[in-house]
């Protein structure tokens, strides 16, 4: 088996376990983290496909550029999703905190 196939198998494994965490883990921040892991493994699977379409020119390995471009776009989109999710979680934690502890202030910057 070529190396990229091994990476594909690894990605398949990571997809399974991060999917499990995404569904089961009740902590919002851990869910977001698991999402990032899941996304990254999906990209690797995509990248393995890109490598299959590639080859070697003058001894330098190259891969199909289209999935590479798609993965770069995907990484940026995934980052935007993470930012939004983390901002929401923090806002939610702060709101919860404010409703539960009336005597102590819950500030985001302390």
């Amino acid at each position: 088996m070529v190396a990229s196939t091994w990476f594909g198998l690894g990605a398949a494994l990571i997809i399974g376990l991060s999917l499990f965490q995404v569904i089961i883990n009740p902590e919002p921040l851990r869910k977001v983290l698991a999402f990032n892991l899941l996304g990254s493994a999906v990209f690797v699977l995509f990248g393995v496909l890109a490598r299959r379409g590639g080859g070697r020119i003058d001894g330098v390995a190259f891969a199909d550029p289209v999935p590479q471009a798609l993965i770069i776009t995907g990484l940026v989109v995934a980052f935007a999703a993470t930012v939004l999710a983390v901002a929401l979680v923090l806002r939610l934690l702060q709101a919860e905190c404010a409703t539960q502890d009336h005597d102590t202030e819950c500030r985001i910057d302390d």
């Binding site: 990248g47 590639g54 999935p67």
Partner: protein, 323 residues
């Protein structure tokens, strides 16, 4: 050949180990730290998969910025829990965490993994995919890096949408502010305790980082790199200066700031529309002009991405501006 396979397998085992720690480690802090390491090792894996552009993006955005963001959130949560020990934790429960349900979910996830693994092994002989088409069409764009060709010429619409995603995500983050804080600055990124070492780094590193960021954008036309990788590096330098207290986060009502954020997408759109005047259609580049136009788009995109990413890290406006 066998030696590189050995190295690849080693890389893979480290990746799997880090992924397992990320997914299952008890302390959230350990999980995020493992994820950052995972991202860096993943960048190496991308190099091994002959995708250097992706490797750069993964290291910059996937590991660096994402890790920093999550680390900050986890640290805040931890401090809050210590300060208010009786605080109820927020839990997003699946309807019932019945053991049976967990077993079913685990079985489904294992099934997905198994089927995907089977597909990876049995997928028919490598098709050429789009390698040939891109190679034949690339000279028309005047670019040397096929990935940049795909991003800015063949699939320019994806990249246009990708650049606006960041703008709208920023609006989304800002939207979580208190009404009273609207128009003001995000909380300072400056660390609570003053550190001379950090100040020194904040003064020493940015010139090199900015040079490197600009180089990444410039080289992107013909070699691995591009607007997103370069912009991220510039953003990192800005964030470094902000956390060393060497610069101030601008207020969200600042007109120039808003223009800087949206100028990349706006110019991209304008040049796209100019394609009609040039007779090559929307998002087309007139023959001979394409490389110059692409570089102009990428230069503004790099700037906009850098500012937007920096503001995304800074978060929602927190303090109203004094009237």
């Amino acid at each position: 050949m066998t030696l590189t396979l050995f190295a690849d397998l080693g890389l893979l085992i480290i990746l799997l180990g880090l992924a397992i720690i990320t997914a299952f480690a008890r302390p959230a802090f350990v999980a995020v730290a493992a994820y950052m390491a995972y991202g860096l090792v993943m960048a190496l894996a991308w190099v091994r998969l002959a995708a250097v552009d992706v490797a750069l993006t993964e290291a910059a955005i996937g590991s660096g910025l994402t890790g920093m963001l999550l680390l900050g959130a986890v640290a805040w949560n931890q401090r809050q829990t210590e300060a208010h020990p009786r605080r109820r934790q927020i839990r997003l429960q699946v309807p019932a965490t019945h053991p049976l349900l967990i077993i079913v979910v685990a079985a489904v996830c294992a099934g997905v993994s198994a089927v995907l693994a089977w597909v990876v092994v049995t997928l028919p002989e490598p098709p050429t995919l789009q390698v040939e088409q891109v190679r034949l069409a690339l000279p028309a764009t005047g670019l040397g890096n096929p990935v940049t060709g795909v991003l800015l010429a063949f699939r320019a619409i994806d990249t246009l949408l990708e650049s606006v995603v960041l703008v709208f995500a920023l609006v989304g983050v800002w939207s979580l502010a208190d009404d009273a804080a609207w128009g003001g600055r995000p909380r300072s990124l400056r660390l609570v305790q003053h550190s001379h070492a950090l100040t020194l780094l904040g003064q020493l590193l940015p010139p090199f980082g900015v040079l490197m960021g600009l180089y990444l954008f410039w080289a992107g036309a013909d070699a691995p790199g591009g607007a997103f990788q370069g912009g991220t590096l510039l953003a990192a330098m800005w964030v470094l200066a902000l956390s060393a207290g060497l610069a101030k986060v601008p207020a969200v009502s600042n007109r120039q700031l808003r223009l800087l954020i949206s100028i990349g997408s706006l110019l991209f759109l304008a040049i796209g529309l100019a394609g009609w005047a040039g007779g090559v259609g929307f998002l087309g580049y007139p023959a001979g002009w394409s490389k110059a136009l692409i570089l102009i788009i990428e230069a503004t995109l790099t700037l906009s991405i850098a500012v937007t990413l920096g503001m995304l890290v800074a978060g929602r406006p927190h303090r109203a501006l004094p009237r």
